[in-house]
Symmetry: D2
Subunit: 341 residues, 4 copies
């Protein structure tokens, strides 16, 4: 049984484990004030090309979303998100649990449009409704698509026009940035959004997301919020050592690039086999629509998510590759697909 279920089925990249081993008995300060975390932050800033940003390492994605959003908003302010946004769909109401409503808009292929944002703002006219204040997007999105530079710039413009914050969930940012279709850099993202994060968990780390706060007014007292929500690890070194390793050179990008390449191979095969796709994915998540018997056969040797029935005979499945996906497994999977379809 080989898993294409997600991008967190294995442990960490060996270099990361090795770094944990090598540093293990060095004494370090607690709560993210250790030498490793400080160095990791410097390395990330260098990759972004800006010194005037704050970096916070946080164990997980849901946690980063809820801490950032609840720290950034006043109680009456709300989030605008696409219907497929992770905060809306798969976080057990984490944002609402901090008191904030999420306003959903349809979006296109998992991406919010400037028109979506404008509509949400115009609809919420007075104090009988929440006040939209933060636009939440993911890159790559929950359905595998990515934002182009033009798309992100347009969203950024509409946000600034309406005094909205733009926040990017980057749980799979590595996959977005190393996509063939990508034309954005970390520096450009930092210039267009108010805060974003760089996901480690889904790109080779054991845990960890690096939140980047760009806008000055959002920086104040941020560590209080991390601590209050239980995310300030006593051994913050665990996060620091991992991100130091990922950003010491290009490891972070190499891992994501591998995942994309593996997905690309499968997607090419699916297209060649005439298998319909929810969308042509530029990243490490694929959403093919397959006959139920094919799915049943595949499930004998592979695990993956069956997302929903499309019609009587076919269902939508999700295939995910990662830094750890073996090329040989991909080739066998393609061979199996060819036999079945």
């Amino acid at each position: 049984m080989y898993s294409f279920t997600n991008d967190y089925s294995e442990g960490a990249h060996p270099r990361i484990l090795n770094a944990l081993l090598e540093t293990n008995l060095e004494q370090a300060a607690g709560y993210g004030l250790d030498q490793f975390t400080l160095e990791a932050a410097e390395l990330i800033k260098r990759k972004i090309g800006r010194k005037d940003v704050d970096i916070h390492l946080i164990p997980g994605g849901t946690q980063t979303n809820l801490i950032a959003i609840s720290a950034f908003l006043r109680p009456h302010e709300a989030v605008i998100a696409p219907l497929t946004g992770h905060v809306e769909v798969h976080e057990t109401g984490a944002i609402e649990a901090t008191g904030h409503k999420i306003i959903t808009k349809e979006g296109i292929e998992g991406k919010l449009t400037p028109a979506d944002v404008k509509e949400a703002v115009e609809y919420h006219a007075d104090e009988h409704m929440v006040k939209p204040k933060l636009v939440y997007i993911s890159n790559s999105t929950e359905v595998g698509s990515i934002y182009s530079k033009a798309e992100l710039a347009a969203l950024s413009n509409v946000c600034r026009e309406h005094n909205l914050l733009l926040f990017m969930d980057g749980a799979r940012l590595g996959s977005a940035l190393t996509s063939d279709k990508n034309d954005l850099t970390l520096e450009e993202i930092a210039n267009l959004v108010d805060a974003f994060y760089i996901g480690g968990t889904k790109n080779g780390a054991l845990i960890g997301e690096a939140l980047v706060i760009i806008t000055e007014s959002l920086k104040e007292d941020f560590r209080y919020h991390i601590k209050q929500k239980g995310a300030l690890l006593a051994k913050g070194r665990l996060l620091g050592i991992q991100f130091r390793e990922l950003f010491r050179d290009n490891l972070f990008f190499e891992l994501a690039e591998h995942a994309n390449r593996m997905a690309g191979k499968i997607q090419d095969a699916l297209i060649e086999l005439g298998c319909p796709l929810l969308l042509h994915s530029p990243s490490n998540q694929l959403f093919p629509i397959m006959p139920n018997e094919v799915i049943a056969e595949l499930a004998k040797n592979y695990s993956f998510e069956v997302q929903r029935k499309v019609d009587e005979d076919r269902s939508l499945i999700r295939l995910v590759t990662s830094w750890a996906t073996k090329e040989s497994a991909v080739e066998e999977f393609i061979a199996e697909l060819s036999r079945l379809m």
Copy 2:
């Protein structure tokens, strides 16, 4: 510079890192449903001697406190805690941020008494005040003391009498259970409280606390709460592998016993040198009161917390040992103390 600042200055016990390495490329289910976590839960149940308890592995202590307490209480219900309780003092209002008031009582040496609990219940008489519902204690406490069997049984009785839940923060439970003065077993604790946790972070793990829920009515839907608060790790294996290693044999207890023994050596020396102590500590935290010049001298080679001034000339400091404290460092520290005092 050697640190006696806390019990989380190093990484993890080498056996734990080794276990992470060995299992690294095995694929596993996400979100704590992996084989390692399931096995760890079984091992912990065996140590407790009960099969009818639920085990949840959660990254950190503040997180475990806030998730458990907010899952267990209705909005109008409150916590009773000692003035020195971690939830009251050092969690940035994490409990209040979930909506619940903490009622504090003086306690004795960091421990709540049945009289404290009764007083709190009697004072909160009607719907103009919160309703006390959960008693929070730590073992070992924030000042190093531990609960005897008789003390815990008495607290348990008063809680059952007044329909209160009894919750034990076990961030340093290892240190309590392996203390010379301890007469409690894991099984007895499980029989006396409604929920408690077994701390990994401060006893040799990178991160992780094992929450044990005993009372049936508190178990329902608990994983929803872990997820909502951002604590359900995608790679839950990270927690499972560590606790499996800690409880596969007696490693958990051996690590704590070492920490206690190291603290004991320092305490014996302090007593011999006539140094006053906040209390005679049975665990791995010591609170000596020292002349300021001695503190200044010590600080040249050792790091530790200076907690507060006691009078013009003396201050209270905290010395903490851990699973990783080197016996040679302890001996050098004692020698230094002897020179200075």
Copy 3:
């Protein structure tokens, strides 16, 4: 200028003011424990025909919704509501501010269907999503429609099947119960839902909603929640005296019946004039679609809400009548309509 903007443009029915005057200097207990409130609760129970329900008088509707829902739900549980539901649209995120997500479904004419509920339950499959627990409906709804006995029974069945609570916002319950089309009694409602309220503010009182809790498990400690949310009036007598007056005889129903009759007259005229309606309203809110010039002309002498553009030439407006609407004003308005259309 005459207002058809809402059903709370005037003060209270004169009998209510008179009751306030007559009792003014009688001393009474505070916080809803006064003789007037106790008597009002008895009178309401008698009208419902059940002694085993709890009655709480609460100043406003948003408040009643947020107190009831936050008292009834655990943190991970969510509300299912129609897209047009007041809690979703016009309460500034009051429910989310207590930590709970609202799952919206399209509904039909402002009413939820059993299929909506089933879909919501089936979609929310595991702990990565909130757990649907309470179904929120309004009667009459925000678009003027009312639930038939068969519709409410069907919803009640699907709720009991899926272990969901059924909660009815009755801010305009008087209007529903006295509608020509209504076939429900207060007693039948009490048998089908877990809790509901009887709106005073929009039916002749200055302020006040009477929350009726039927299901035993929802009753415990409810007054704590009223107090915690700031809704336990020191002079609870203000609510008690008003509801005592409304339910001492049939005043409550007479007032609502008048409002319905006034709306009916306008609706009959609109139909006769060929004016399209969003729906044929059985209650005191009408939603005609009118040419913009007609709206502009009407606005010279009447105030009302213009809800939205329907096309280039026409808009949807809302006309609301109340216990205080003068029949002569209605007649003049109809005459004006006839001139304009």
Copy 4:
């Protein structure tokens, strides 16, 4: 049976009821945008002597506290209050339910001192603890004392020095301002605090507190918070008409002055009879310590709160007078006291 239990045992001053009657059928805008509320706000501004403040009329005191505090603070910020503060003691955790911790200090006679505030600020040193941000005081306090101009100025200074907001609960502000011992004016209060409120409920209104926001940064979007917490009355006129009447001339002050005078008569008698007092009260609440037999005798004809046992033989009781307290009842009560003591 005559009640000295509190200052809200009767309805409203007859002039207020009369104003409700006279305006009853005038149509008015909803939600506090009516002509009466606008006029009331102007009248209050005139009494304060400042045009640059925002006035919001809110039904009750607990509600005003929780709305203001939750609107003013970010999630990690906390309140400093005296141990006897209403928010700490008698609001069922309303502030914590909005997510904020209350830090309590002993105070003197129910009043916070600058030293209390400094201590609280100094103790809360870093992000492991909440950040003190708002100082809550009541005037008159919960034990009947009042702040002098010098005391309030000193508190105001320490707050500005430490970047803290100063908030005054004025549920009994009338009583404070009309006390013999008072040397503060509304204008001076407005210059020294960031926000305060003027209590109507305990001074002759049916319900209503007038919140005054002075500091510019606290004003933005405040109506959203009133609505979200359920306190924006549909018939906001109910509040507007009452405050218009109270501040149209000196009614507000005359009512409070009467209450003080009645309390003063009782206090003089108590002193003459040698009855010990918790403190010499300058306002309308008295806290005498009486023999239990005397209390039992008094309780046959008078109702009042017995607060707590002082020793075996004596208890502390609370006697409260109001705008409605009859001078004849006071005289009879004094005569009874003379017989008994």
